[in-house]
Symmetry: C2
Subunit: 199 residues, 2 copies
DNA sequence: GTCTATATGGCGATAGAC
DNA sequence: GTCTATCGCCATATAGAC
């Protein structure tokens, strides 16, 4: 696989930032991971903050679009939720550290979030309208549909974000057992949500 | 209110660490918050890491005990869950930044977690037994009861941990509206869980 | 473009006066 | 016990040779 120096830096930064966060990451560690000198990082990205923003923007946008895409399709509300839960868990299993990384950074510096929303042209009001005042959605849900989405996200993301703790106290630190537990969650979450929204 | 220098440091450290995390916090900022000089922090706690551990241990233990206490009572499984959800949301509303702080730190350095469990004398195996192989619990739940607990924790904690993002995209950054949303969650989560566990 | 060497600043930690 | 002054290190960032 051939990749430019800039791409190597970007990939290394992605790896390190996701694991250590903005505050915990070191430019030296990213340079080591990329197999080159520290100075090159500044040559291509000028500052640590720039590099971080480039990485965070892509990671955040990918996760965010996943949510948005599911909600924009013209499937029924129920179908949307099922597809969403399956896809989202698949995606997190492929990138298990990403949710905690995003949670950490949006709390560390919410300004980054605002500029991201602005740059990407996403209009919060539009997203809101996908739920509220949407007859197709409202007829399926008794509760404010935002509660449904937040419940799903919480049930799906939390077992990954709190893994070190949960694995230790509820699974005797057995990695394999915890992986099996994670695999079961698709069905659990789907059952829970469907049982709740069917009146 | 009178409080010793050591207590002032501890309280200031608690405030700053919860907001900035171990990596983001600065000893100078803690000193400012406590209204004294940086050197005093080292006089009383010797190092930043020591100070952090003192704070983290207490915060973690308080949250952890809350879970354990609810589970240890001899109420029925259903009663336990209801009390737990109410109490836990109350506690988080009083300390909204704590869950994200704990999540962040257990991922940053899981070793801290292990030494905490060791010091506190908590036996993970015992906690496990509160759920599995407990007839009183098993008769109430179809699913592995750990899925129930993880689902509750996720549904309760996530809206606080992801507040900056959720408030922006689903509530047009309206703080008051988001507070109302948080207040509604007790009933939502209880309904969801009860509907799921009643066969 | 890529490297070595170095500047610059900030942070944790300590020395020492009071 | 509490302060000021400062050490020593480490991290980001830059200068300059190749």
């Amino acid at each position: 696989m051939v990749s430019s120096t800039e791409e190597k830096i970007y990939e290394a930064a992605r790896k390190v930032f996701i694991l250590k966060g903005m505050d915990g990451a070191r430019m030296q560690e990213i340079a080591d991971e990329a197999g080159m000198n520290k100075a090159l990082l500044h040559y291509y990205f000028r500052s640590k903050e720039n590099l971080f923003k480039a990485v965070f923007k892509d990671i955040f946008t990918a996760f965010f679009d996943k949510v948005r895409f599911t909600l924009l399709s013209d499937a029924t509300a129920k179908e949307k939720l099922i597809v969403f839960i399956d896809n989202y868990i698949d995606m997190i299993q492929a990138n298990p550290y990403v949710p905690q990384f995003i949670l950490n950074e949006i709390n560390r510096d919410p300004r980054v979030l605002k500029s991201l929303m602005f740059d990407s042209g996403v209009e919060p009001q539009k997203i809101l309208e996908l739920f509220v005042n949407n007859p197709k959605v409202n007829e399926s849900f008794k509760a404010d549909p935002r509660h449904i989405i937040v419940s799903i996200l919480g049930m799906v993301i939390f077992p990954f974000a709190a893994r070190p703790l949960l694995q230790m106290i509820y699974f005797n630190d057995d990695q394999e057992a915890y992986n099996r537990f994670l695999n079961e969650r698709k069905e659990i979450v789907k059952n829970m949500i469907l049982k709740f929204i069917e009146v």
